[in-house]
Symmetry: C2
Subunit: 159 residues, 2 copies
DNA sequence: CTGCATGCAAAAAATTTGCATGAGG
DNA sequence: CCTCATGCAAATTTTTTGCATGCAG
């Protein structure tokens, strides 16, 4: 079972050579920064992080490389709420979904085999050839819901 | 069981007066255009549609009104893939999720009680107070998957 | 060498906001 | 009347693209 976060270097090389793409210093740096970042960074965060090591790198290259990582299957992208796209290492063996706190913005991962199976079943029933899915639960995380017990009127907007 | 698509006028008035907001000609027109549109229009589509009846209306007003409809619970917004936000009438009695074809972009709705229940269970287990959720299956719709039987390499990018 | 990749800045696309004017209650 | 809402355009934010130059293979 390939663990993307450990395995990325080889997997990236494979993908690149299989597609006649080049392993550039930038691509390596960006991928490295990406895979050593836990959580769900967005382009800006990655850009800043990479910049520390390679000050003259272009933001466009970060965008381009992250798209490449997504195309290769090494990364997955999501847009929670209305914010900028966030990325995470995609580990095909253990897909997971997200719970997003609309109060503090924290993201919790979970996975549930039963739901996965039901999704495939639904797709099949509709003649739909599912190749991926995305599921997000919005609400208050434990901390925030404890802080505001019977929130009489949840914040009108959580942007 | 309130059916939003029939009931929107009264519900909108209630929300507005409850929040000291005004029922303006524009808001009415935009809501009307929205609720008589099937599918999942985006701001542009609604703007064009409303413009036919009220040529001098501003795009910003459409944005502002759709946000209002979402805040009021009369509408729900989603962003499929990387495209602009799309809106739909939200009928609290029958939540549904989406299957998006990455080939032709068609959107199919479905709902599955079992999945809903499991979602709530997962949330509860994590101490998470879920107030809404979103689920999207990506893949090829029946038509598209019939057209490309054993697609040897799915289109690298479906933007 | 040769062509893909990069950096930079400009362009796009989507959405928000400031402000003077208009109109709902 | 007194605000809140609108229209318009300008500003933001996020992402993409064009192009000359660089560098991987």
């Amino acid at each position: 079972m390939p663990e993307t976060r450990d395995d990325w270097e080889e997997r990236l090389k494979e993908y690149l050579s299989a597609n006649d793409l080049r392993l550039t210093r930038q691509r390596h740096l960006i991928a490295e920064a990406f895979f050593e970042t836990d959580g769900h960074p967005n382009i800006d965060e990655l850009y800043l992080r990479v910049r520390r090591r390679a000050p003259h790198i272009g933001q466009a290259t970060v965008y381009r490389t992250l798209r490449l990582l997504v195309d290769s299957g090494l990364a997955a992208s999501s847009r929670f709420g209305g914010a900028a796209t966030r990325y995470e290492a995609s580990d095909e063996d253990s897909h997971h979904d997200h719970m997003i706190c609309t109060e503090c913005g924290s993201i919790t991962e979970f996975n549930n085999e039963a739901i996965e199976r039901l999704q495939e079943e639904v797709a099949r029933k509709h003649g739909f050839a599912m190749h991926s899915h995305k599921m997000e639960l919005y609400g208050l995380c434990r901390k925030c819901s404890e802080r505001e017990p019977g929130s009489p009127e949840p914040p009108k907007e959580a942007r």
